[in-house]
């Protein structure tokens, strides 16, 4: 895919996150999208960011798949999966201006574009877009959490797996069974039963 097309997709993603567009935000989104840079390709198991690090500000996943996890002691929680065509960020860096509490790992070969914090704030200053973009990013994050929480508390194990596979068709090959159980908040034995009954695995 050509860099121009990718930057158009990034701009579309930026604008879709805003509630009510304005001329200044249209212009800012073009400048922001145009300033994204490709990162060296990530291989399976490579980290985009690690706990404690200050990652770049915004990312766009051109292809591949990533998982964001949070570890405390022996427990690791799967916060979310990132699919291609998604604009995403490390919340600790973007919202709290601190090192990451989570880590993001590539599940397959992944092509990622990034925008630095300096560039974001430079453009933010030039266009006077105020808190519009930051508020928009926080609303997108809130929407994602609502939908993930709904899946985890409302759906039974069978529907939870089916829903996850609908969203991420390659899930069974991307995650280990342990990771998948954690992502779906199921015990290993329940996941084993659901996979065997529904998918013959």
């Amino acid at each position: 895919m050509s860099p121009e097309i990718i930057k158009q997709k990034i701009q579309k993603e930026l604008l879709s996150s805003l509630i009510g567009n304005s001329e200044k935000n249209d212009a800012a989104s073009i400048e922001l999208a145009g300033s994204f840079q490709p990162m060296p390709q990530l291989g399976r198991g490579d980290f985009l960011w690690r706990a404690g690090s200050h990652s770049p500000f915004l990312f766009f996943l051109e292809s591949g798949a990533l998982v964001e996890t949070y570890s405390k002691g022996v427990n690791t929680s799967m916060i979310r999966l990132v699919s291609p065509g998604t604009l995403f960020w490390c919340e600790d860096v973007v919202f709290y201006n601190q090192g990451a509490l989570t880590q993001a790992k590539s599940l397959t070969n992944s092509s990622v574009w990034y925008l630095s914090q300096e560039e974001f704030y430079r453009i933010h200053k030039v266009f006077g877009s105020g808190f519009d973009f930051l508020n928009a990013f926080s609303l997108v994050t809130l929407g994602n959490y609502r939908s993930r929480t709904a899946q985890l508390i409302q759906l039974n194990p069978e529907k939870r797996l089916a829903h996850a596979l609908g969203q991420y068709p390659a899930l069974l090959s991307l995650l280990t069974r342990d990771e998948l159980a954690r992502f779906l908040a199921l015990s290993r034995s329940t996941l084993h039963r659901v996979l065997k009954q529904g998918y013959g695995r």
């Binding site: 509630i19 427990n75 979310r80 105020g130 808190f131 508020n135 809130l142 929480t149 985890l152 508390i153």
Partner: protein, 210 residues
């Protein structure tokens, strides 16, 4: 952990002071720059109002966009799925903000019901007053962002708890909202954890043994 003292009365001046302190914590170093504006905003909140268990702050289908600040007590946000089963998305306790997120995110009627679990004192910024503060105001944008960040932290914490052992999730939520032990039913706790009532009983038994 928050205190679990149930109050018989709440003074308006004290309530406004608590709200202003919360804004101060959210704004950090920018607080003094915006102090006058924030004081005016605090005065626009009405209350404190005492709500009783079962009272609703908003119901499914509501289109109002009032902003609530819980001074003391406990409120739960219920969801009802397509099969008519209800679940608890979140608890909102002392010094926490809540807003109709369906309206805020999608400009859609509410898909949730906000119901009081224990006697609760709230302050409310009515949507009619909100527009005086919102329109094109940078301080409003900043405040929305700062308050939104606190809500987001809580939502991420919830995902972390949901993805971990259920017993730990129960322990964490009781530590955070001690009023649950006296005021929430086991069924409500089960709906929050996303487990059956029998599992919730077992988790409580295990917790009591520790």
């Amino acid at each position: 952990m928050v205190d679990n003292i149930e109050r018989d009365s709440m003074d308006q001046a004290d309530s406004r002071k608590i709200l202003l302190e919360c804004f101060q914590q959210s704004f950090g170093v920018d607080f003094e720059l915006n102090r006058l504006w924030l004081e005016r905003l605090v005065e626009a909140y009405d209350g404190p109002h005492l709500l009783n268990p079962g009272d609703l702050l908003w119901d499914m289908g509501d289109t109002r966009n009032d902003y609530f600040f819980v001074l003391d007590g406990l409120v739960s946000e219920f969801w009802v799925n397509d099969c008519g089963e209800s679940f608890i998305y979140a608890f909102i306790g002392p010094k926490e903000f809540c807003v109709n997120e369906s309206h805020m995110l999608f400009k859609a009627p509410s898909k949730s019901r906000l119901q009081v679990i224990q006697p609760t004192w709230v302050m409310v910024l009515r949507q009619e007053k909100e527009s005086e503060f919102r329109n094109g105001n940078t301080a409003w944008e900043q405040l929305s962002y700062e308050v939104g960040k606190r809500i987001l932290e809580k939502r991420r914490e919830r995902i972390r708890w949901l993805s971990g052992p259920k017993g730990e999730h129960l322990r964490q939520v009781i530590t955070k909202y001690p009023g649950l032990l006296n005021h929430a039913t086991k069924e409500q706790i089960a709906r929050y954890l996303g487990v059956s009532r029998a599992t919730a009983y077992r988790l409580f038994t295990n917790l009591a043994r520790k």
